[in-house]
C-alpha cells in the first residue's frame, strides 16, 4: 500500500512538472493554448520542445522574421503565436489555411535593453501533414 502511494505521488509529480503533453518526440502533443495564455510561464519553460499539429491562420512578416498564428485541433477559436526567426530555414513553405507539424522550442529572449522576453515558442522546423 505504501509502495502504491509512492508510485502515485511520483506519477503526479511527473504530470505537474511538465506541460500537458510530452516533450518533442515523433507524435504531435496535446497543447492547451488557453493554459498558455493564462499561465505562459508554467507552460513555456525555456528549453522545452513541442511537436504541434496546427493550421496556419495568419502569417505576419516583420522584417525577415515571421509570426505565425496557428490553431490547434482541440480548439479552433484560439491562436497560438509561433516565431519563425529570420535565420530559420524550414522544409516547407508555410501557407495560410494549411496544417503543418511544427517543432517548436520555448525560449526566453532579450530585447535591446537586455530585458527578458519570456515564453516565446520558436519554430525549429515544420513539416506538412499531407
Amino acid at each position: 500500500m505504501v509502495i502504491g502511494g509512492v508510485v502515485l505521488l511520483a506519477g503526479a509529480g511527473f504530470f505537474f512538472s511538465s506541460p500537458s503533453g510530452k516533450r518533442s518526440s515523433g507524435k504531435p502533443q496535446d497543447f492547451s493554448i488557453r493554459e498558455y495564455r493564462n499561465d505562459g510561464s508554467r507552460m513555456a519553460v525555456p528549453g522545452n520542445r513541442y511537436l504541434l499539429e496546427g493550421r496556419v491562420e495568419n502569417i505576419e512578416t516583420i522584417g525577415n522574421s515571421r509570426i505565425v498564428a496557428v490553431s490547434l485541433k482541440n480548439n479552433r477559436n484560439e491562436r497560438l503565436p509561433l516565431l519563425v526567426a529570420k535565420d530559420t530555414v524550414l522544409d516547407v513553405n508555410l501557407t495560410r489555411k494549411d496544417s503543418f507539424l511544427f517543432e517548436v522550442e520555448c525560449r526566453t529572449g532579450r530585447d535591446s535593453s537586455g530585458n527578458e522576453v519570456k515564453g516565446i515558442l520558436v519554430v525549429k522546423n515544420a513539416d506538412s501533414t499531407k
Partner: protein, 622 residues
Amino acid sequence: MKRRILTMLLMPGVCCIAQAQMPVSQAPAQQQSAPPPAQSPSQPQLDISGAPANNPNAEPANPKLLGMEIPLLDPSNDTISYNGGKFDVGNNAVVRAKFEAYLHGTPDTSEETRLYSKKIEKILKYVRGHYKSQQAIGSDALVQIGKTLYSLSEVPTDGQHSGVLASCIVTALDAQRANRTRTIENSKINKELDSLARATNNLSKSKTTNNSFLVAYNTKKMAQKQADQAKNAATNVQSELAAKVSYQSNMVAFLLMRRYDHAVIASRVYRHVFHDGDNTMKIEKDSKADQFLKSTTGLPPTVNTVDALANEARTSVDKHMEAVHSMLAQNKLGEATQHLIEAVAIGEHMISVLTFPVEGRRRVAEYWSLRKRALTALNARDYGTVDEIAAKMKSLDVEFDDSMLLSYSAGKKRQSDLCIRNARKALLAGDDEEFNRCITEAGTIWPLNPNLDASAKHLEEFDNNSSVLAEFRTLFARKEYRTIFKEQERFECVAADPELKTQYKEVILVISTIDAMLKQLESVADQDRVMGPCIAYEKLVEYRTTEPRCAEDPAYKDALNMYAQKAHDFVQALRDAEECENRREFGSALSNYYRALCLYPKSTLAGQGASKVSDIIVKAQY
C-alpha cells in the same frame, strides 16, 4: 370768437370751474416766478415731438393724440402742458370731473323744462320782433315779461336766473319811475319859483319895512326851491347811472355764466328800459369783463356787444350739438366727443345740451373714459394698457387713428427691452454699475415691463453668485462634472468669471459628448449583441485616452462596467494580455491579443497590442 368766449369762461373769479381751469400761463406773476420746466428723467418725452426747425430755443410742441394734445406732466411744478397752456394737475381733474358729471347725468326732459324752454323762446321771439321793428316795448309789456320771468325762476333748470333778470328789469323801471316823479316835482318847483319871483318884484316896488322883510323871505324860499330842484336833478342822474350799472353787471354776469338766453333778453330789453339812447357799458375800466368785451372788437363795449356774444355762443352750441348727433349716427365717436366737450364747455345750460339723450351720453362716456385712460396710461408709461385701450377705441370708432398711439407705445417698449438686454449683458459681464443703470433706465421708460420681473430674478441670482461660484469651484475640483451639467442653468452665472467660464464650457462639452456617445453606443450594442458590447467597450476606452476627465463621470463608468460585463471574454483577453505584458510574457500576451481579435476582429486595441508585442518578440535575441 368761440375761443374768446371759452377764454373768458376760464377767467379767474368768474366761477369755480373757471378758476380751476385757469391756465398757469395766463397768470403773469406765476409765469414770471415759475422756473422753466425741467427735463425730468421720469417725464415721458415723446420722440415725435419737436421744436420748429427755425427756432431751436422754442419749447417743443406737444404731440397730438386722439384729436387733442397729449397733456405732458412736468413734475417740477405739477403742471400739465396742454393745448398751448400749462394747467394745474388738480384743476384739470376738476374739468374732467365736470364733463364726466354731465355725461353721467340724466337728461332733463321733464314737461316743466319743456314749458320753460317754450316760454323763454316766446320771450326771445317777442324781444327779437321789437328789435327788428324798432318799436318800443311799453311798460306794461315789460312788466309782463318780468312777471313771466319771475314765474320761470321756480323751474330747477333756470337756477333762479330768470328771477334775477326780472328783478333787474323791475328795478330799472322803478328807478325810471322815481326819476319821472322827481322830474315832475322839478317842474312844479319851477312854477313856484316863477310865482315867487313875480311876487318879489311887486314887493320891491313899494319899499316898506314890511315889504323888505317879505322880499328877504321870498328870496330865501326861492333859494331853497332851487336847491331842491338841483338835488332832484342830481338824484336823477345818480339813480339812472346806478340802475344802468346794476342792469349791465347782471347782463354781463349772465353771459359769463353761460346763461345766453337771459343775456340776449336783457340786452334787447335794455333800450326799452333806458330810453336815453346811451348803450355804452358802465363797467370798470380795465376790469376782466372790460378786457374781455373790448377784446372782441377792440372798441369800447356796448350792450350790443353782449347781445352779439350771447347769440354767437347760442348758435355755436346748437351747431356743436347737431354735429354730435350726426357723428354718433356715423359711429364717429371721436369727433362726437370733441363736439360735445365744446358744446358743454360753451353752453352747459343750453336746452339742447341739457336734453341730450342718455344713450348718446353713454356712448360718449365710454369713449371718453377710454381716452382718459389712454392719457393716464401714457403719463404712467403703462404701454401694455395703452395697446389694449387703442384696440378698444378702434373697435368703437373705426376712424380712430391708432397708429400714433401704437407706434409710440411699441417704440417705448422696444427701448425698454433693449435696456433690459443690455442689463443682462452687464450682469453676465459682472458689471454691477452698468446693470443698475440699464435696469433703472428700462424701468423708467416702461415701469410695468414684464421682462423686468425676469431681470429681478437674474439680479437675485446675481446676488447669490458668490456662493454659486464657490460651489462650482468645489464641484469642479472634485471632478463632479455630471452634477454641474445637471444644474447647468444655475451655474450659468459663473460665466462672469473668464476662467470659470472656460471650465464651465468644457464641462458642458465633455458631459454632452459622453451622453451623445453613450446613446449611440447603446444603439450599436442593441443591434449586435455579440460584437456590439465589444465595440462599445472599446470606444469608451479609446475616448478615455483622448478625454481622461470622462473617467470621473458616473454615467461613463457605469456604461464601461456594463459593456465590460457583456463583452467579458473580449475584455478579459485584453486585460490578460496586459498582465502578461507586465510580466514580460510576450508570447502569452500575443496569444491573448489573438484571442481578443478572434472575438472582435476589428478591435483596434487588440490589433495595436498584437502589433506592439509582435514587434518586441521579433526584435528580441533568442
